[in-house]
Amino acid sequence: MNKFSVNLTINDIPVTVPEGTTILEAAKKLDFRIPTLCYHEDLCVAGNCRVCVVEQVGAKALVAACATPVAEGMCIHTNSATVRTARKTIIQLLLSEHNADCTKCYKNGNCELQNLAHEYRVGEHVFIDLINERRLTIDDLSPSIIKDDSKCIRCQRCVRTCHDIQGVSALAVAYKGDHQKISTFLDHPLVEVVCTNCGQCINRCPVGALVEKTNIEEVWDAINDPTKHVVVQTAPAVRVAIGEELGYDPGERLTGKMVTALRRLGFNSVLDTDFTADLTILEEGTELLTRLKKVLVDKDETVALPMTTSCSPGWVKFIEHTFPEFLPNVSTCKSPQQMFGALAKTYYATKKGLKAQDVCVVSIMPCTAKKYEANRPEMRSSGYKDVDYVLTTRELGTMIKQAGINFRNLEESHYDSLMGDSTGAGVIFGATGGVMEAALRTVYEIVTGREVPFKNLNILPVRGIEGVREATIKIEGCQPEWGFLEGVEVSCAVAHSLANAKKLMEAVKAGLVNYHFIEIMACPGGCLGGGGQPIPTSAEIRNKRSQAIYNEDAGLPLRKSHDNPEVKILYEEFLGAPNSHKAHTLLHTHYTPRKRY
């Protein structure tokens, strides 16, 4: 359908835009930035903060630029005296209800309200400070998220994120008027409700009301403790986003410099979660093939298909709350982070002649739910807490800055050996569809002895940004032991963001679709859009990180998990074979049904 063009002027400059464009978007086209707080390009329009008000000639009152569509002949002024006065007053009113203790705030220096207060030089607070009247509290019981209501400006980005993107609605608007607040069910702490710890709310909170629970100090302490051998692992999505914390444009691949920086921070060994991503593929691929055999050959009705991935701790907690009847469908494989931790305190420790209790495992993750995952009681198969501390990409950026490292001038270096090798298949775990692609590269080759029939191993149908994607691969020319799969069309689905996951699982539940294997990532875009990634994140930024991940994969000599030389050695010397008893003890887990609020 053709859209009509609309002509208007903004600050006396004519502009033509398609109908339905908002004043905010039209102004952006002319490079006029209108300040916003409640507006976020990933979310529906709310229009509640009023900071984007502009003057429309002839209108009785100022209009919200984010919520007002353009009309023919409109004359807009974005920076008139009236607008400036109104905006300044709005910012001052917001501050009167905001705990503006900026120097103590975790978001100091990265706060949208602070930036506006600075830009408009608000000076002394002209309105009575109401913050003490409201007696708001801090919920810091979650291992992942701190919610400080005294900082909240009630823009409701978090509420829209939790509802529209994640379909969780752990957070909702409660009470009214001056008592209005963002609340969980009955104001329970986040640990006690359906919150998946995904951190997408943190990623969108314009102020310091929702932040990650930081572990930077604990990690410094471990590094400075001479009795500890501190091992660090880095998730695939961190290397393509850490630059944004350090002044680079989005989409810069900085693997080598990041490794050098981690060494300079004082970690004893810099290793790679991609190594255990490759290991996950062998464990999970074998599990899938075993399930297929049990269903197709043994006609075992106790075995659940489709099998879903289990790498995303947000997804795991979501399914535990929302679809507990599908827990048998979730792969028993631990996530790569936890496989790494379990091996670091057993295999790695033995090889290096260390005691397990002296090894401290730190993970750098694009994720806040990983902090929760590391604290799960199931994740102690080494006899100790397998992963001691989890830092987000943002926290790593902070540590690099604290250490005074000039990141741009660093030389590139390689990961250390023993659990530092990886393939392109491990790298693409960071993008939605990546686990599926990596698994197909390996499973197809195990079954047929040939590479997947896609040019350059790029399984394009599972890549992309659509919320739910499907692909089928027909298996032909099987090796003799996999003869039962001859002619089978393996049917796969990929979903990212939990709202899409919910849709997909409801279709599975209703019997509308039949898949063998489903990959689900809790965050939009997969881990590269994770809740621990640099702020801001937008569709464009996620796209650039995604390109960087696929470029990293394409540039690596080894691109199939089963070719990872260190993984081969691990099986030969320690685990035996995929899904062996030892592998099950260390690398697999179980799940717990949880309540629905």
């Binding site: 957070l171 409660a174 609340s183 069910f185 629905r596 609020y597």
Partner: protein, 157 residues
Amino acid sequence: MLDVQKIIEDVTQVYGKSRTALMPILQAVVKERNYLEDKEMIAVAKALDLSPAEVFGTASFYTFLDTVPRGKYCIRVCKTISCHMAGKDEIIKALEDTLRIKVGETTVDKQFTLMTANCLGWCHKGPVMLINDEVYPELTPQRAIEIVNGYRRENAG
């Protein structure tokens, strides 16, 4: 015993299993028992495919949809300006004395909860109070106590 499943069934037959049914269900529960229990909000959320936080959010917005235990009789004295001028403070004092509770509290026998309310629209006949759905205008402290005693007798008999 309040049967929330029955209420959900009845209301969703009229309004369907969408968010539209939320307010009528909550109102029906409160009509029967003056407040919403946690497990009822969870049941409603499940039936309408909402999150319990959203149900709580909606309930907490409305003064008359209480989410904490209330007595069998909810007394709401209008606190807005006309009733204030007409002597609502004396009415509240008399009620506090006879019920031996403060505003916001419930009697030990769980019969009465004393609250204040914003304008009830009876400014010409203030001071005014509501007991559940009944309006009592043109109150004096003595009259307020007599009304409460009437409820007490009704309950005893």
